[in-house]
């Protein structure tokens, strides 16, 4: 890395969209707050009732709109507030994750986790991991809709 690149990478504050299920991971984020755990500020949380609600299309939409990273987090398998929403989600995520990476999404852009509402610490840790990984991947140019290319 040249010093210039280093400077750029230091200044680069990625935009990360985080889809959190209401019952576990959103609760974990709340708990991380209650516990005053400090983590990078790059995530923007969208609350969904369950990872079962998470249409894989949202991931594409976030990238299309220019997100540098996307993170989806829900309840641990077996702990879904809606019994099985995350089991169905897991299959969709598995396929979409593989698919997007096969299509050329850089490693480090798309993240998934299971974080229970008691795991504030894990939440903070995963935010750090996700942010670091997205930072390392740099600004996103893939699957991004650049308006100037429209016509």
């Amino acid at each position: 890395m040249t010093s210039e690149e280093m400077k750029n990478s230091e200044e680069f504050e990625p935009r990360i969209v985080a889809f959190l299920c209401n019952w576990c991971s959103y609760g974990a984020a709340d708990l991380a707050g209650v516990s005053r755990l400090q983590y990078p500020s790059n995530i923007r949380v969208i609350r969904i009732p369950c990872t079962g609600r998470m249409s894989p299309k949202f991931i594409l939409e976030a990238f299309r709109r220019g997100a540098d990273g996307v993170w989806v987090s829900g309840c641990h398998p077996g702990d879904c507030h809606y019994i099985a929403g995350n089991y169905y989600a897991r299959r969709k995520f598995t396929l979409m994750n593989n698919f997007l990476h096969a299509l050329g999404l850089e490693p480090g852009r798309l993240h998934f986790s299971w974080v229970s509402s008691a795991e504030g610490e894990k939440f903070a840790r995963v935010v750090k991991e996700v942010t670091a990984a997205v930072k390392a991947a740099g600004p996103n140019h893939r699957f991004v809709k650049l308006e100037k290319e429209v016509a």
Partner: protein, 315 residues
């Protein structure tokens, strides 16, 4: 081929003359070389126009969803698998469809023939596994097996998975086929190369949606590309939108796609659109052990789950 044609006609005539069905959907000779047209025979006489050759690429399962009439359909292995999916997805009632199963030996890729020949082919005659190509001032013979569609070359389900009758003895399924050799090769490349590859594939896409419309799985009333609130994907030729369209189209086929190749055969711009669906088809098979349309019992993989499904990528 000729005997298959004869048997299909015979079956169709019988069904029509006995009034068992209102229509037999099959293939008729096309008006240009190496092409057939879907044909809807409604009388025993019309049944004489049905043919079977190496150009029955269109997946006739496409014409079945939501039909009200009693129908018989000429179906090769992949077509029957799609019909199974239709049955599982309540688009087709098994009892209302008579399946004239055709053990298939693969279909020819006319683009491949054209690329091999390089001259305008005005006539193509098929006999004994060979195709005689005629054009202005030339006549060449090409082996059928050399110009099969890629999906047919790696097909391991050539025989119909469900049928009411077969017009020929089941063919021997291909063995030792590495279905995903090229995909694995592609996956071994860097993400940058893959991204460039898939964008490159789509350079010529005109978003006519023929890939979608030729696909028997795409039977929605409203496709996501036509949705306005919210708009999932822009309507212009923007690269990201074109990519988004192909990504989502393929994803909607995940666990349902039989790699029948109808999309790719329909593409007027010669885009290898199957490269998208195959990635998912491969994963579904390797991760969930599911191949679409082989069983009327097993639900598609996104409709079910196992508590211990693998997902190492999830933190």
């Amino acid at each position: 081929m000729e005997t298959r044609t004869a048997k299909i006609r015979e079956a169709a005539k019988k069904l029509l003359s006995e009034g068992k069905v209102d229509v037999v959907i099959g293939y008729a000779e096309g008006s240009v070389p190496m092409k057939t047209a879907p044909f809807f025979a409604r009388t025993p006489e019309e049944a004489d126009r049905l043919v079977w050759n190496s150009h029955c690429r269109i997946n006739l399962a496409n014409f079945l969803p939501r039909r009200q009439d009693r129908v018989a359909v000429v179906a090769k292995g992949c077509d029957t698998r799609n019909i199974v999916t239709h049955i599982l997805e309540h688009q087709v009632v098994r009892e209302n469809v008579y399946l004239i199963g055709v053990p298939c030996l693969g279909m020819v890729d006319p683009d491949l023939v054209a690329a091999k020949e390089g001259r305008l082919i005005q006539e193509a005659v098929e006999a004994d596994g060979k195709i005689t190509l005629k054009g202005k001032g030339f006549e060449t013979v090409i082996a059928r097996d050399e110009v099969l569609r890629q999906n047919c070359r790696v097909c391991v389900h050539r025989n119909p998975s469900v049928y009411d009758e077969l017009v020929a003895e089941p063919v021997k399924e291909q063995e030792g086929v590495d279905r995903y050799a090229d995909i694995n090769e592609l996956l071994a490349k860097s993400d940058t190369e893959r991204y460039a590859y898939f964008n490159g594939l789509l350079t010529n896409c005109i978003r006519c949606y023929a890939c979608r419309d030729a696909c028997p799985l795409c039977y929605c009333h409203v496709c996501f590309v036509d949705e306005a609130m919210p708009q999932w994907v822009g309507k212009s030729q923007n690269k990201a939108d074109v990519m988004t369209y192909h990504t989502l189209r393929a994803f909607h086929c995940a666990g349902r796609c039989t790699d029948c190749g109808a999309c790719e055969s329909a593409c007027p711009m010669g885009i290898k659109v199957r490269q998208f669906t195959r990635l998912l088809e491969k994963d579904v098979k390797e991760i969930y052990g599911y191949e679409a349309g082989l069983s009327l019992e097993a639900l598609p993989p996104l409709s079910v789950y196992r508590p211990n499904d693998p997902a190492e990528f999830i933190k």
